[in-house]
């Protein structure tokens, strides 16, 4: 598979006077069609890392390559066309006055002819199942719906990469489900590369690979199974423990021998009922 994103020795500092850089010598590569989750505590540099990919943050050192282009002043807008980004606060990224105006915003920026635009806006909105809300104002939408509109805004631009910068963190569980389901479906259909920055275990579980950031450095990397098997350390890494893991550690506290490797919720059920029937 082709590498779609390569970061080479990226360092970044918000202010010259900061003694601790936001990013310290980070290198990574992401393959076309991968789903990557980046986890880590607040201030670990994960959002900054995501922002270097589309040039919202210019690294003080290192090289960013996206889709074969080395990020520079000249091609920054080409790269932004390839990378769609959904941010944390649903309200603060809603530019248009209605759903369709907001989805059209990015297309307007690219100077897409109006006839094309109408069609692309409509199909993007249908993709995220918001077609009944075309004329609605943001004030009348739920957080999850607003985030789906933001995704539609990204989808309409037909990017190759979509970055979710804690896009589900301000949503209720239902909104979170809605958004994740939407991203999953779109990723499959359009063969997108997804980078999600998250604290949410379910969101991270969707990934092919999880990267763990700490103090501006990349400290761990692995499949969800590998990372989740760290158990109690997951909280230190900036994730909430999955339900099955919480149960496991409670059982361990009561003196019950539990398997050391990571269990999905189904695996947990399987293990539980076989445990009892064996006796």
């Amino acid at each position: 598979m082709d590498k779609i994103i390569t970061l080479k020795n990226i360092s970044y500092q918000y202010h010259d006077t900061d003694d601790r850089p936001a990013l310290k010598n980070v290198s990574l590569s992401i393959e076309d069609g991968e789903w990557i989750a980046i986890i880590g505590h607040n201030g670990s540099g994960k959002s900054t890392l995501a922002k270097t990919i589309n040039g919202l943050v210019a690294p003080s050192q290192g090289e960013v390559t996206v889709g074969g282009l080395i990020l520079s002043e000249e091609n920054i807008w080409n790269i932004r066309e390839m990378v769609g980004m959904v941010f944390q606060n649903p309200d603060n990224q809603f530019v248009g006055s209605t759903v369709q105006d907001d989805v059209a915003f990015g297309l307007e920026n690219q100077g897409v002819p109006r006839a094309d635009m109408i069609e692309r806006v409509k199909s993007a909105i249908t993709r995220v199942k918001m077609q009944d809300f075309m004329e609605k104002e943001p004030a009348r939408l739920s957080g999850g719906q607003k985030q789906r509109v933001a995704i539609a805004g990204v989808v309409a631009l037909r990017p190759q990469i979509i970055i979710l910068d804690e896009a589900t963190s301000m949503l209720d569980p239902q909104g979170r489900q809605e958004v994740l389901a939407t991203v999953k479906e779109i990723k499959e259909k359009a063969n997108l590369t997804v980078i999600s920055i998250t604290h949410d275990i379910d969101e991270a579980a969707n990934a092919n690979r999880i990267l763990v950031m700490k103090n501006g450095e990349l400290v761990q990397e692995g499949t969800p199974e590998e990372i989740f098997s760290y158990g109690d350390q997951l909280v230190e890494m900036g994730l909430d423990l999955p339900f099955a893991e919480k149960l496991k550690s409670d059982l361990r506290d009561r003196g019950i021998a539990v398997p050391a490797d990571y269990l999905t919720e189904e695996g947990m059920v399987e293990w539980l009922w076989t445990l009892l029937s064996k006796k």
Binding site: N89, N92, M117, V121
Partner: protein
């Protein structure tokens, strides 16, 4: 309480007036406010009133909405009218006491000024009740276009207007939340004398101010991520269509102007 403050107060509908191009409506309202100063006798005011009432009728919006529009300004209007009545001299004087003179001309002028205010409020209320704020910004952008020649950033002004309008409900919600948070900490809004009341606004304004700046920054980042690089080279999703209906409305205004010129003294 907050709902009343939302300006625009657009009432969705499907009437002839609703369907008019926002440019026609905006231009029409401006023309109306201009030509109202042509009126200087009963006949001309009657003509304007008939015109306004016909327009209101066509909008199928209840007259009470328009009368409500006058209410917040009624003291200002009455004050102006009273000044006009008390200090206008004339040939037929009813009452004369030092600088205060009540004359026939003054009374008549007072009534005319009252009519003028009410008519202007009626027509501008008609504009805001039947036009989405968003369409209105589109119209403003279009009508300001000639100013591009003198380097006025018309496009940016329109975008600013539409973003401002879009954030009105968001900031209202936020104000409500902050007020509740302050109430929970024992702040009493609307209590005490005027200074105490003003002081209690400060703990609302400061967090609101701070969060608005945060919002602005995040919005700017989001806009940049979505490829916004200024008005150059952008296409437009919204399109305004000028149809025969709009030309008819403009002709209506032309006829009104001619009527006023003919009927005025």
């Amino acid at each position: 309480m907050m709902d009343k403050l939302i300006f625009g107060r657009y009432i969705p509908g499907d009437s002839w007036i609703h369907k008019l191009d926002p440019r026609a409506k905006l231009l029409g309202t401006v023309i109306f406010i201009g030509i109202i100063f042509l009126a200087n006798n009963w006949l001309t005011y009657l003509l304007l009133l008939a015109f306004a009432l016909t327009a209101i009728r066509l909008s199928t919006i209840k007259l009470s909405f328009f009368i409500n529009g006058v209410k917040p300004l009624i003291w200002l209007i009455l004050f102006t009218v009273v000044l006009q009545v008390l200090f206008t001299g004339g040939s037929t004087v009813y009452f004369d006491w030092g600088p205060i003179i009540v004359s026939q001309e003054g009374l008549l002028n007072g009534v005319f000024i009252f009519c003028r205010f009410v008519l202007i409020i009626f027509m501008s209320t008609l504009l805001t009740l039947t036009t989405m704020p968003l369409s209105l910004t589109d119209a403003i952008e279009y009508l300001l276009r000639p100013l591009k020649v003198v380097k006025v950033p018309v496009y940016e002004i329109a975008l600013m207007l539409s973003i401002a309008l879009r954030f009105v409900p968001t900031l209202m919600d936020e104000t409500e939340k902050i007020m509740n948070a302050q109430r929970a900490r024992g702040v009493d809004f609307g209590e005490g004398n005027i200074f105490q009341q003003m002081k209690s606004i400060v703990p609302i304004l400061i967090p609101l101010f701070v969060s608005s700046f945060n919002r602005a920054e995040e919005l700017a980042t989001a806009m940049e991520a979505r490829g916004y690089k200024g008005g150059e080279g952008r296409t437009k999703y919204r399109k305004l269509d000028w149809v025969s209906r709009d030309t008819i409305a403009m002709l209506g205004y032309a006829a009104l102007t001619v009527g006023l010129v003919v009927l005025r003294k």
